[in-house]
């Protein structure tokens, strides 16, 4: 036999369970799917631009997010957003473990749905195990193809919805189904359909254990105060270990008397685990803190009238009877960082400029001597109007005595909504400083459509002939 380089996947057939955490997870799933699938269809009233609430317009280099229009030059906001995301992950992980993995990660959400589909088409855990071992009968072929078809359908809708964020959802989806959509739309949809199908349908928990870097490095952020899904070994095993409920071991008092643990070894917690682990073996790197084993155990405990919480969210400290301390340098530090970055981001967005002015002196030639001896400098002036209405701007200059500004077009300059205009300006003056090769000139841009807006100023170089 050839040496095994890796372990072959042992298929996992998670059993369904009801409970507190399962309900929370359904709510999160419902909200997340609602947002993800419906958001491209949400319309939004704008004076200018697309009537879609969220649209990432790559061609126009603009991201429309409700009333906020993000331009390419605002890309550093993304750094802020990613910073918040990272520190929020560290913060939450430090306090409550892998909350992101267990409740919010799209791998978890989509796997959840794919398992639901599997259950719908093939039945509960035992039926699925039986079916997987069964020969390929008509029944198995029908059930497997139904599963795969539904999986593919969800995967395709996932891919298509993602694509719709990058164009007008209504026209793009029409174009998509009539073969008129651009190639990237098909490629993106196909790619995401494939990855969704493979990741949520086939790879499943292997994505978390083998591929995902977050899954691995979150463990580093744990400490004795971090909440993890934990099995109360003290209570579950006592000194004589877990035992199946047999005669004389039915009531809790009876078990206590014989020093037998409360765990009746029913295996429900193992059956519901989507990662295929046994939580009773302690904390394991595979555990995504999905908390389904808590629901499973609570269900059993309720049914035999034992108190809940044999498996529960608890920190290492609380399991050992110590106090869990939420506040420490790590969590407070992360918290401060989150507030700091959020504050900066909000400030930056609130103070974003509506109008931008760029002055580029034309350097070929640096200057021109005119017939009457005056000096001419030319400038390429770019006015970027990010407002959703047409604006007129008056350009004026200062800093050089007697300098005259010529635009070769009307001044105020008209700039359409959400667009930019390049003005070729000429500045002519008598040589003001005979022993210098350069001096400075200041351009002032005043919005005349709304004169309360403060004027923008930019200083540039005015080149002179050397004497």
């Amino acid at each position: 036999m050839a040496e095994q380089l890796f372990q072959k996947r042992i298929p996992i057939f998670p059993r369904g369970v009801k409970g507190r955490f399962r309900s929370i997870k359904y709510v999160i799933l419902f909200v997340a799917y609602g947002i993800y699938f419906l958001m491209p269809w949400m319309r939004w009233d704008r004076d200018f631009g697309p009537h879609q609430a969220i649209l990432f317009d790559i061609v126009g280099r603009k991201f429309y997010l409700f009333d906020l229009v993000v331009y390419a030059q605002d890309i550093f906001w993304l750094a802020g957003l990613l910073g918040i995301g990272a520190f929020l992950l560290f913060f939450v992980t430090g306090i409550a473990g892998r909350v992101f993995c267990g409740y919010f990660c799209f791998q978890t959400l989509w796997t959840d749905v794919f398992i639901l589909i599997e259950r719908l088409a093939q039945g509960e855990r035992n039926a699925r195990i039986k079916l997987s071992k069964a020969p390929w009968t008509a029944n198995k072929i029908w059930r497997m193809s139904l599963t795969w078809f539904l999986w593919l359908l969800v995967a395709f809708l996932t891919g298509l919805s993602f694509t719709l964020y990058w164009g007008d959802a209504i026209t793009l989806s029409k174009a998509f189904f009539t073969g008129q959509a651009p190639f990237p739309a098909y490629a993106t949809t196909l790619f995401l359909t494939a990855t969704t199908f493979v990741m949520a349908g086939l790879a499943r928990e292997q994505t978390c254990t083998y591929m995902c870097p977050y899954a691995r490095f979150q463990g580093v952020m744990f400490d004795q105060n971090t909440l993890v899904v934990a099995y109360d070994e003290q209570r579950g095993e006592r000194s004589n270990g877990r035992q199946k409920p047999a005669k004389g071991l039915l009531k809790q008092e009876e078990r206590l008397g014989k020093d037998v643990g409360d765990c009746i070894d029913c295996g429900f917690c193992v059956q519901v685990c989507p990662m295929g682990i046994d939580i009773r073996n302690g904390m394991q790197y595979q555990c995504t803190s999905c908390a389904l084993c808590i629901d499973a155990c609570d269900t059993i405990m309720d049914s035999i009238n034992y108190p809940r919480g044999l498996i529960r969210y608890a920190s290492e400290n609380s399991m050992e009877g110590k106090k869990t301390r939420w506040l420490n340098v790590k969590t407070v530090g992360y918290g401060i960082f989150i507030l700091l970055i959020s504050g900066l981001l909000v400030w930056s967005i609130a103070h974003r400029s509506i109008v931008e002015l760029t002055i580029r002196p034309i350097r070929k030639p640096m200057y021109v001597v005119l017939s009457d001896g005056r000096i001419l400098n030319r400038y390429e002036i770019k006015i970027n109007n990010k407002a959703s209405e047409l604006k007129r701007f008056r350009l004026t200059i200062s800093g050089i005595k007697d300098a005259k500004l010529e635009l070769g077009q009307e001044n105020p300059v008209k700039v359409l909504a959400e667009s930019s205009s390049i003005v070729l300006a000429k500045v002519v003056t008598h040589n003001p400083e005979k022993d210098k090769t350069r001096t400075y000139i200041t351009f002032k841009l005043q919005d005349v459509t709304n004169s309360t807006t403060p004027a923008l100023t930019k200083t540039s170089v005015f080149s002179l002939p050397s004497r």
């Binding site: 001597v369 017939s371 070769g408």
Partner: protein, 304 residues
């Protein structure tokens, strides 16, 4: 996890020299399938795209022809190649530009200047045309070279600086000529003429007596006025330079810091004359292209 499983590697069953065996470590399945996929990809590629040399030719690829229309209206269908794709792109660009070009062709210069779209289009198109056709002599930005090529960015125009005059200059070309006056005047007379020419543009340090003698010569016997006019302001019909302004296209006066140097620069021109030729661009550029260039060059300094 820590179960010790002693596994031996499979061998091919061959043994040499008694105990020399060959291990059989099969390639990972995923790797093999990846390899097969590249083989399949290659076969499809060979069919669709030009691949193998055959004698002096090569396999052309099937089902993958490219059709495009050239700038002179011929429709060409050829096997797939990147040059044909470029031609397709160019055809597409021509189609996109056509409405603008048609509009500019019909518009007057004033209309182009007023319309933001036309103005922006003419500017960007002519910027490239200028770099391709004009910048070799007149330099990027049109600054020219004193003594060789006129500066197009200033407000002095040998042949006129209106849109139409610039357009004519580009279309028809120009030939500027000033004869050599070597041997016709004495050295003193040449010096007097140079003094007068310098005094016209109010240069510092000119000998007034010499300039006065030069003025008589300029307006009389020497005949300079025939081309440069009596006032020295030049004549755009002949392309003769305006001597009264601060712009020098032949004699590099601004580079000279002494009056002797300036004098010598002028004398050199008088003694050796000038002959400059600007070629015609008719036939090399279309009328619309010349029009856009004229608009652009006029805009460099605002013309006259």
């Amino acid at each position: 996890m820590s179960k010790e499983t002693k596994q031996t590697v499979q061998t091919t069953g061959h043994a040499w020299d008694g105990d020399l065996q060959e291990f059989n470590n099969p390639l990972p399945t995923w790797w093999l399938w990846g390899f097969y996929a590249t083989v399949v990809f290659a076969i499809i590629y060979w069919v669709l795209y030009p691949t193998f040399p055959i004698g002096r030719s090569y396999s052309k690829g099937l089902f993958n022809n490219v059709t495009y229309t050239t700038s002179d209206g011929r429709t060409v269908t050829t096997h797939w190649n990147t040059r044909a794709l470029l031609m397709q792109d160019l055809e597409h660009a021509r189609e996109m530009q056509k409405p603008y070009l048609d509009k500019i062709k019909k518009a007057s210069f004033a209309e182009i200047a007023k319309d933001q779209d036309m103005r922006a289009f003419a500017y960007s198109k002519a910027k490239v045309l200028f770099a391709d056709n004009c910048a070799a002599c007149h330099q990027a930005g049109g600054a020219g070279v004193i003594g060789l090529y006129p500066n197009l960015a200033d407000d002095s125009w040998l042949w006129g600086g209106s849109h139409e005059q610039i357009e004519t200059t580009i279309r028809e070309g120009r030939h500027g000529n000033m004869p050599s006056f070597k041997g016709r005047f004495s050295d003193a007379q040449v010096a007097d003429l140079a003094s007068y020419v310098l005094s016209l543009s109010k240069q510092q340090g000119v000998n007034p007596a010499s300039a006065l003698r030069g003025k008589t010569l300029f307006e009389g016997q020497a005949g300079c006025f025939a081309c440069h006019t009596k006032a020295g302001t030049g004549n755009i019909a002949l392309g003769s330079a305006n001597l009264t302004d601060q712009i020098w296209t032949i004699a590099n006066v601004p580079a000279q810091h002494t009056i002797e140097g300036k004098q010598a620069a002028i004398e050199h021109v008088i003694l050796h004359g000038v002959s400059r030729r600007m070629p015609t661009w008719k036939g090399r550029l279309s009328d619309t292209e010349i029009k856009m260039l004229a608009f652009y060059i006029h805009g460099l300094s605002g013309g006259e």
